[in-house]
């Protein structure tokens, strides 16, 4: 039941507030996560474009904070056959990352990658391998952009392929989040090939721990940046003081000469 409001999503960190309540701090945490996701999404789209040698259009990255049972309704893809590649973050901080294609779109992309003349010609084993490799590249780019930015190691498991209806695939990941919170937090972004009409979705289900780690690291990064600026200011002031003293010296010299 979503009516139970005492258990909260991770975003509010130490503030003890419910999932529907926003303070300036919580807004900032969500903003940080969204920004990190956007950085990753940009890199992922670039690598997809490089693999397919095609321009990729990318949607505005979004974070959804909604009751778990509403998520399938939100995507409204219910029984659509979907090819998903699932990668998980290793270590204690759990995070599920999914790359979802329409079944047909996945076939087309596999054909492009294997230089086959039509999707029907691609060997199914080859297709699975190609799609897994693509997801590995994309999600790898996504995570390495994020980890470079905040300086935290993110190690991933090998990719696994799933072909099922859309709702069946995401249900598993929603259940995991539903165990600890009434509200699911999902980051997603849509990619589209300029020549195709189907879009591909990159979804991330961050656990509370990984949310906290990412937000904390990003905040220390912001603080470090601020101190760096301060240091450069200090250097500037010492420089000017040197200038002043040398100027004073030359003045003194001039006087003594005079």
């Amino acid at each position: 039941m979503t009516d139970k409001l005492d258990s909260t999503s991770g975003l509010d960190m130490k503030e003890n507030i419910g999932p529907y309540t926003w303070t300036a701090g919580k807004c900032m945490n969500l903003g940080i996560l969204l920004e990190l996701g956007s950085i990753g999404a940009g890199h992922a789209a670039t690598s997809l474009s490089q693999v397919l040698q095609e321009p990729i259009s990318i949607d505005v990255p979004k974070i959804h904070t909604l009751p778990s049972h509403l998520v399938p309704k939100f995507y409204a893809k219910h029984d659509k056959p979907t090819t998903a590649i699932y990668i998980q973050l290793g270590g204690e901080s759990e995070c599920d990352i999914l790359l979802l294609f329409d079944l047909e779109e996945a076939k087309k992309i596999a054909a492009l990658m294997t230089m086959a003349s039509s999707p029907a010609e691609v060997d199914p084993v080859m297709e699975a391998s190609a799609i897994q490799e693509l997801a590995n590249i994309l999600i790898g780019a996504f995570l390495s952009a994020m980890s470079d930015f905040i300086g935290v190691k993110l190690v991933i498991t090998p990719p696994q392929q799933v072909v099922d209806s859309f709702d069946a695939i995401i249900d598993n990941f929603l259940v995991k989040q539903a165990l600890v919170s009434d509200v699911a937090i999902i980051f997603d972004t849509h990619f589209k090939r300029t020549t195709g009409d189907a879009s591909c979705i990159l979804m991330m289900f961050p656990s509370k721990e990984i949310q906290n780690i990412l937000v904390e690291k990003a905040k220390t990064w912001l603080d470090d940046d601020a101190t760096k600026v301060d240091k450069s200011k200090i250097i500037c002031t010492t420089d000017t003081s040197v200038d002043i003293s040398t100027a004073a010296k030359s003045e003194n010299n001039a006087r003594t000469e005079g």
Binding site: D3, G18, Y20, T21, A24, G31, E35, T65, F74
Partner: protein, 224 residues
């Protein structure tokens, strides 16, 4: 039913279809804008309270709730608590309900302080009512004038009305109004406390979609 996010949290962003629970950089910024404007108003209102009572006032972190209307009573979790509320509404096209809520004994204590009575029991009920209404008028007007100065609009409220009822019964009416036009209620609130008391007062704002839109638009103009 028109979704709130389509109308306000995504105002001027018609390209992305979105849901009430979906956050992009843009609508997150709109949310922060509303929160910030509310914070300013709350600061002014509590300063006014502090001036009247000659006492320190502790202000809580201002909060914005975006929740399905039926969950809002659960968020506050005050259900049947007897509450004294001063209620004011904005006049004109921009509809907005504003209320100042105290627990009943706390309202009595504040009225005693304002009327320089020795104990809450000594205050004449009519005088108590008048004092609390006056306090509500002062605080809510301080809130509104801070908001109006920032956004550069005129916000004229109706005279204050006093309501004493259980908390949920009072907010139900305001929630119903918001539920008519949106799946999600958007509520701003701040809690504050006199330093000499443990009871909390709350200012709660139920802005209409039009007012939300206007505040966001004006502050965006102000920023650029």
């Amino acid at each position: 039913m028109k979704r709130m996010s389509e109308r306000i949290l995504q105002s001027s962003d018609h390209t992305t279809s979105s849901d009430d629970y979906c956050w992009t950089t843009k609508n997150l910024m709109n949310l922060e804008t509303l929160l910030e404007i509310g914070t300013m108003g709350a600061g002014h209102a509590t300063t006014a309270l502090s001036d009247i009572l000659h006492e320190r006032i502790i202000v809580e972190v201002p909060r914005l709730h975006t929740a399905p209307p039926h969950l809002v009573p659960k968020i506050y979790n005050r259900h049947d608590q007897p509450t004294t509320v001063v209620y004011m509404q904005l006049r004109g096209e921009l509809d907005c309900d504003i209320m100042l809520a105290f627990e009943v004994p706390e309202a009595k204590k504040i009225a005693a302080l304002m009327t320089v009575a020795r104990s809450p029991a000594e205050v004449d009920p009519a005088l108590e009512k008048s004092a609390i209404e006056e306090l509500g008028s002062i605080m809510i007007c301080a809130f509104l004038s801070a908001m109006a100065d920032f956004a550069g609009v005129q916000l004229v409220p109706t005279p204050p009305q006093l309501i004493v009822d259980s908390f949920d019964a009072i907010i139900d009416g305001f929630l119903a109004k918001q539920a008519l036009v949106s799946d999600i209620a958007l509520i701003f609130d701040t809690g504050f406390k006199r330093s000499g008391s443990s009871a909390e007062g709350t200012i709660v704002l139920f802005p209409s979609l039009e007012l939300q839109e206007l505040l966001i638009k004006k502050s965006q103009k102000w920023l650029t």
